[in-house]
């Protein structure tokens, strides 16, 4: 479930990036690449788990599925937080800079 939720997050981020390109001011590409990187890594994890468990891998316990879904949502939220912090640090639209200068004046 964690892999599935992250893949969906990556697809949504990629579609938003595609729609907004060439305007890169919100840095959606960074968000999409982060989620794709994590998705590939969890995909590898899933392959190794499948090699170990076999068909059982596709029939998880309800409690495990719920825990994995909860983890997946937390991962998506953490990805958004990392992206938001990097956006504020880079501040491509100069919004933070403007707000701080306005306060200082």
């Amino acid at each position: 479930m964690t892999l599935l939720i992250t893949v969906f997050a990556a697809i949504v981020a990629t579609l938003i990036w595609y729609k907004k390109t060439p305007d890169n001011s919100m840095r959606y590409g960074t968000l999409a690449l982060m989620y794709w990187g994590a998705s590939i890594m969890w995909f590898v994890d899933a392959i190794f788990e499948y090699a170990e468990l076999g068909a059982e891998f596709f029939t998880p316990e309800a409690a495990d599925m719920l825990n994995d879904s909860y983890l997946g949502l937390c991962v998506v939220a953490l990805g958004l937080i990392i992206w938001m912090i990097s956006l504020f640090i880079k501040d491509p639209k100069g919004v933070i800079k403007k707000a701080l200068l306005k306060k200082g004046a």
Partner: protein
């Protein structure tokens, strides 16, 4: 256990390589008297920008995977930080790093290499089309 450490280490290396490549590109552009705003028109997407894609995938993926390990209690906030080391399962951890960790790093790098090849082909075609248009004109 600690598979995220392998792509994480690769991320450190590629970030250093990106900084070096960026510095060299800046030097070359200065020597060739090319303005920063004309770069994409004259030489296409810079290699340092392409390396940036790999950095984002590796850093982002490693960070989110590290969070998953904290979630499952495999990474702890006290020394030695890894439950496997604390419980004397270092051999198993190293085996997982050597198999799953290395595969993760290789697959992410392969996906990035695919992106670089596709973007280079698109840029080459674009340049060829522009050349053909200029000849016709």
């Amino acid at each position: 256990m600690a598979c995220f450490l392998v792509p994480g280490t690769e991320a450190i290396v590629t970030t250093i390589v990106t900084a070096v490549v960026k510095h060299k590109e800046k030097k070359h552009l200065k020597e060739a008297h090319i303005e920063t705003k004309d770069i994409s028109e004259k030489i296409g997407t810079k290699f340092s920008t392409k390396l940036g894609w790999l950095n984002k995938m590796l850093w982002g993926g490693s960070a989110l995977l590290a969070f998953e390990h904290v979630w499952h209690g495999e990474v702890i906030p006290v020394f030695p930080f890894l439950t496997a080391v604390k419980e004397g399962e270092a051999a198993g951890m190293l085996h997982e790093m050597g198999t799953a960790g290395v595969t993760m790093a290789v697959l992410v790098t392969a996906a990035w290499a695919g992106m670089v090849v596709v973007s280079s082909v698109i840029e080459k075609r674009q340049a060829q089309n522009e050349d053909t248009k200029e000849v016709k004109a």
